[in-house]
């Protein structure tokens, strides 16, 4: 009954607004089914998988600290890698508690500040809750500890066996786990219902917020952060030092592909770790019968995702090496990713009558 009133009200409100945007707000697409599909089949299972991989990392860390040797060290590195890959599948969901605690900024700001990290370890004087400590923690700081702070595996192992270092290692892992759990607790508490029941089409509604978060992630974190910035798109020279996981070296492509696949799967509404699809941005666009040039917009976007993926798959496993040897290929991958910014941020947003709620930062 309540919803009936709402549907009558919305067209009236819109009649007073500008005529330029297409009047799709009174479409009858079942936004709630989409929200339920997102929450139950994608977001929460992805966070759970991420949490599980952090629990595995925690065990490996505890084992390493108890018995530091080549085997426990190698296991620790493997668990770090698995958790880092799983992180890429939740990074885009910076909504609810994740937004409130700025999960992404405390988890994966790179490059990390190795001088600050060394100072913190030596002095024992640091507070990882401070915003200024964001580049001293998370996966990038672990990358430095596990791969970067000494030349050889033996030296790394030796250094990490010292109490000051192993304490810091431990705190980094525990903090990642703590942050992820506070997000999951929130989803399993009140937030799930808040999320799926916040219908409507205002800027604060779940669909509008999630689509904006998705777009922001795709544009800034994936396209720019993983490819564009290191490839020098935004600077006068290329910056191979700004790739993700620079100390490990050969993981940047895998991390990028994990992120891109997660973006693709979200667009299609694919359930976590499955090919089953539910209501999604794609089905919403199809419902609206949005056409771009000659084919449906959803197909254009899906095809563009495939093209981007193909380009990235052709790159070196180590983006830094790729940039140093053949940056043109990086730039081509960037261009393909950029093409989807246009299709989504302009055409898809317009079709769904969603306003972009973020701006390019002032930069000062």
């Amino acid at each position: 009954m309540k919803r009936g009133v709402l549907i009558i009200l919305i067209p009236m409100l819109f009649a007073c607004s500008e005529d330029e945007s297409p009047d799709t707000q009174n479409d009858n697409f079942d936004r709630q089914s989409m929200l339920v599909n997102w929450a139950d089949n994608i977001i929460i299972p992805s966070y759970k998988a991420y949490e599980n991989s952090l629990i595995a990392l925690q065990s490996a860390k505890n084992e390493f600290i108890a018995n530091p040797n080549i085997s426990s060290f190698s296991e620790l590195r493997i668990k770090w890698e698995e958790a880092y890959l799983n992180w890429q599948k939740v990074s885009m969901f910076q909504i609810g508690m994740a937004e409130q605690i700025t999960l992404r900024d405390f988890t994966n700001i790179y490059p990390c500040d190795k001088e600050e990290i060394e100072m913190a370890i030596v002095s024992g004087n640091y507070n990882l809750e401070l915003p200024s400590s964001r580049d001293m923690q998370g996966f990038p700081a672990l990358d430095y500890l596990l791969y970067g702070m000494a030349e050889s595996e033996n030296e790394l192992l030796q250094k990490l066996s010292q109490t000051a270092y192993s304490n810091y290692l431990s705190e980094l892992v525990e903090r990642l786990l703590f942050l992820s759990q506070s997000v999951i607790d929130n989803w399993e508490g009140d937030y799930h219902d808040q999320f799926v029941e916040n219908l409507g089409s205002d800027a604060g509604s779940s669909v509008n917020k999630m689509v904006n978060d998705y777009m922001f992630y795709y544009e800034k974190v994936l396209r720019a952060g993983k490819i564009g910035i290191p490839a020098g798109v935004f600077s006068s020279t290329s910056r191979s030092d700004l790739v993700e996981a620079p100390y490990r070296g050969d993981l940047s492509k895998a991390l990028c592909l994990s992120a891109l696949n997660a973006s693709i799967n979200f667009f299609h509404g694919r359930h976590y770790n499955s090919n089953e699809e539910g209501e999604s941005l794609k089905s919403y666009l199809d419902y609206l019968s949005t056409v771009s040039e000659t084919q449906s917009l959803s197909l254009s976007i899906a095809n563009q995702f495939d093209l981007s993926k193909e380009k990235i798959e052709g790159l070196n496993a180590d983006f830094a090496l790729q940039i140093q040897t053949d940056n043109a290929a990086m730039l081509e991958a960037y261009d393909e990713l950029q093409n989807n910014v246009v299709l989504m941020k302009v055409d898809m947003f317009q079709a769904m009558n969603i306003r972009v709620d973020y701006v390019d930062a002032d930069g000062d």
Binding site: Q100, E129, L130, P131, S132, R134, G204, D364
Partner: protein, 410 residues
């Protein structure tokens, strides 16, 4: 002489190829060059090295204010370029600045038109800057590693940046930086060097008409005053004869924000109009056309004042937009406070603006009221600011100008 005519003719020919829409009316007997290049006896007659020096001093001062190893006394020395007891000091990184006898303080709120017979307000403004150094030392630096909250100084995240705010949410380094744009640059430009009273003081007009040069210099006094105004905008430009090639990138003061406003599609062209007015005004002085000179002054007053007002409204509106939906989520205030702190400085700078006719647009009392309003929605300053307050402040500014709140907001 024929050589010069040929030279200027070349520039006029170049000009005719460019876009016609913004081209100044053709001026008989005025040689308006394409770039800000004026020469006499085969050498440049343009000199604004003193302005370059002060911009660079202000850059170092603002940069030092963000450094947690700084102290009140160290910042005071940079601001005054002398010790607290008046002795010689070397507070700057740049040796040329240490060698200079100039200081920032001596030109803050020091214009002829506003402050020559208003020394109490001048002193109040000079001291306002110094009070910021004290507050940095007692509120910001000792709380570097605190998380800010209402009534608690400390740090806040703003995107990937970290901001350091006072107990009321104020970023003092931003207040300092943006207030200097008004109190130093705009005041010196609009209320001093472009003041007809200053340009024409003593026998300046007669000397200029007869091209009597200042002792040992290659310029008349009037030409030099005009160039000094120019230098406060373009004194650190990559190419100061053609400064719009890099407008916005050459300092963190007026140049930067002319660039910012010009990059807004609602105001595109403002950088061009400002530069053209400076250039044509200088050419008019060379040609003894004082009416034309004063027409350029009117344009500069209006456009430079626009830059300050547009940014003031802009930051009030950006701050409003960035306030967190959940007002109890204290960690989410970083972006809003950064915007509002910049906005505070631009509000402070409104005092130094004037319209085309030369009327001063904001009295001390009006500016103080705007700032007090910004801070008085609750007991914790920015933490309590209401969106309606930000709209009211924005409207009371934009209503005095020919732009709308909406144009300035984005």
């Amino acid at each position: 002489m024929a050589k010069y005519l040929l030279f200027f003719g070349f520039f006029i020919a170049l000009q005719s190829c460019s876009d016609d829409s913004d081209k100044p009316e053709p001026q008989p007997n005025i040689s308006n060059p394409q770039f800000y290049i004026f020469e006499r006896n085969g050498e440049s007659s343009v000199d604004f090295s003193g302005q370059t020096t002060r911009i660079l001093m202000a850059e170092e001062l603002v940069s030092a204010s963000k450094n947690f190893n700084s102290s009140e006394s160290g910042l005071l020395e940079m601001y005054r370029n002398e010790s607290v007891s008046g002795g010689d000091v070397d507070p700057f990184q740049d040796a040329d600045l240490n060698a200079s006898t100039k200081s920032i303080r001596s030109k803050v709120a020091a214009s002829n038109d506003l402050f020559s017979s208003n020394s109490s307000e001048s002193l109040e403004i000079k001291d306002f800057m110094e009070s910021l150094f004290f507050q940095l030392e007692v509120e910001i630096y000792p709380n570097e590693n605190q998380i800010a909250a209402p009534g608690q100084a400390g740090q806040l995240a703003d995107g990937s940046s970290t901001r350091y705010v006072s107990p009321a949410g104020l970023e003092y380094d931003q207040l300092l930086n943006k207030s200097l744009i008004g109190a130093l640059m705009v005041d010196q430009v609009l209320n001093n060097y472009l003041s007809p009273e200053v340009l024409d003081q003593n026998s300046n007009r007669e000397d200029n008409s007869n091209k009597v040069l200042s002792d040992g210099k290659n310029h008349t006094q009037m030409e030099h005053f005009w160039d000094e105004a120019y230098g406060y905008l373009y004194g650190t430009s990559a190419n100061s004869a053609n400064p719009n090639a890099s407008i916005g990138e050459d300092d963190n003061f007026l140049n930067k924000y002319i660039g910012r406003v010009d990059s807004d599609e609602d105001f595109v062209g403002i950088a061009h109009r400002i530069f053209e007015a400076f250039k044509l005004g200088r050419a008019a002085i060379l040609a003894n056309d004082y009416k034309l000179r004063d027409e350029q002054i009117a344009i500069l007053r209006s456009e430079i004042s626009n830059v300050i007002a547009i940014r003031a409204v802009h930051y009030m509106q950006q701050g409003k937009k960035a306030l967190p939906a959940d007002r109890n989520n204290y960690s989410a205030y970083g972006s809003a406070f950064h915007d509002l702190s910049e906005g505070y400085g631009f509000l402070y700078s409104l005092r130094f603006t004037r319209n085309a006719d030369g009327e001063v647009l904001f009295s001390r009392e009006e500016v103080d009221n705007l700032i007090s309003k910004l801070l008085s929605d609750g007991s914790n300053g920015f933490w309590d600011v209401k969106t309606e307050t930000l709209d009211e402040i924005s409207e009371s500014i934009s209503s005095k100008f020919n732009f709308t709140l909406a144009q300035a907001a984005e």
